[in-house]
């Protein structure tokens, strides 16, 4: 009887070994996955995804994708695009002066 207990203690049950290996594998996959979810790379991926979804959603809406195109349609669109681009002002919106030492009142040397 005593010998039987000792044998049981000594031998590692295959099921236990398999469960152990599976648990270790899950932990090894889970931890890097969580690290990725909390990384800045994932934040960027999310932003790009939102942009793509917006773009796809817009295309499913009120866009004419069937009628034939004439040269005049393209010329009209050029004018629309020019108008649209007037709302873009890179140098004012991303102005280096916003964070210059002089603007922030920081030492310049």
């Amino acid at each position: 009887m005593h010998g039987d207990i000792e044998k049981k203690l000594e031998g590692l049950h295959p099921m236990t070994a398999i469960m152990g290996a599976v648990t270790i594998s899950i932990v090894m996959v889970f931890i890097p996955f969580m690290m990725f979810l909390h990384s800045s790379a994932y934040e960027t991926v999310k932003q790009i995804k939102i942009g793509s979804q917006l773009s796809a959603a817009n295309l499913n809406g009120s866009y004419d994708v069937k009628s034939p195109v004439n040269a005049i349609d393209i010329a009209n669109y050029e004018a629309t695009l020019r108008q649209k681009l007037t709302t873009i002002n890179n140098s004012a919106d991303f102005n280096q002066n916003d964070i210059s030492n002089q603007t922030l009142g920081l030492p310049t040397n």
Binding site: S55, L59, K66, Y77
Partner: protein
């Protein structure tokens, strides 16, 4: 038997801990970005400069946080504008394909725009992220990190502006590079 079991257990622990250690080293925390910036810029503030930075730091942090939010909103607006333009172009491409006209120039423009929009998103995210990090440093104990973060943000803003100019240039050049060819084809 006991030794074998112990050895297996140690091996399992090493197998788990080694990738974790490597992963932890490769994770870039906001603090480590600023510490690296201080070291890269070999920044050392004089006592007078440090006093000015410490005094100005807290009100500037609120200002930088607002600037970050404003810039993020602007980038979102830009992406909406370019995204809707890209949809217009895709719609034109589909219509041209239906009538059997080659619209490969539009396809090329859309591809370039997509790449430029991704660059704009990434550089915008990096810049606003740095501003937020600078806005949360410990003003009393990390004045060097504050200044180094501002210098870093300046370089990132320059990159952001380049990316924004790149995508705008694609569209301002579109009449000659893209639309002109298609108009010729449709008029022939």
């Amino acid at each position: 038997m006991k030794i074998q079991r112990f050895a297996l257990l140690v091996l399992a622990f090493i197998t788990i801990l080694l990738p974790l250690e490597v992963g932890a080293q490769s994770v870039v925390t906001p603090d480590s970005v600023l510490s690296k910036a201080v070291s890269d810029q070999q920044l050392a503030l004089s006592a007078d400069s440090k006093a000015i930075v410490v005094a100005r730091c807290v009100p500037l942090q609120a200002q930088l946080s607002q600037l970050s939010s404003r810039t993020a909103a602007t980038i979102h607006l830009y992406l909406d504008t370019y995204g809707s333009t890209m949809n217009d172009l895709q719609a034109f491409e589909l219509r041209l394909a239906r009538q059997g006209v080659d619209g490969s120039e539009i396809d090329l423009l859309i591809g370039k725009m997509r790449g430029a929009m991704d660059n704009l998103t990434i550089s915008g995210s990096t810049y606003t992220g740095t501003l937020n990090t600078v806005a949360s440093v410990d003003c009393v104990n990390q004045p060097e990190e504050f200044v180094a973060g501002i210098v870093l943000a300046r370089a990132q803003l320059s990159q952001l502006q380049k990316n924004a100019n790149q995508i705008e240039r694609l569209l301002t050049d579109a009449p000659s590079s893209t639309f002109g060819q298609i108009i010729k084809r449709l008029s022939a």
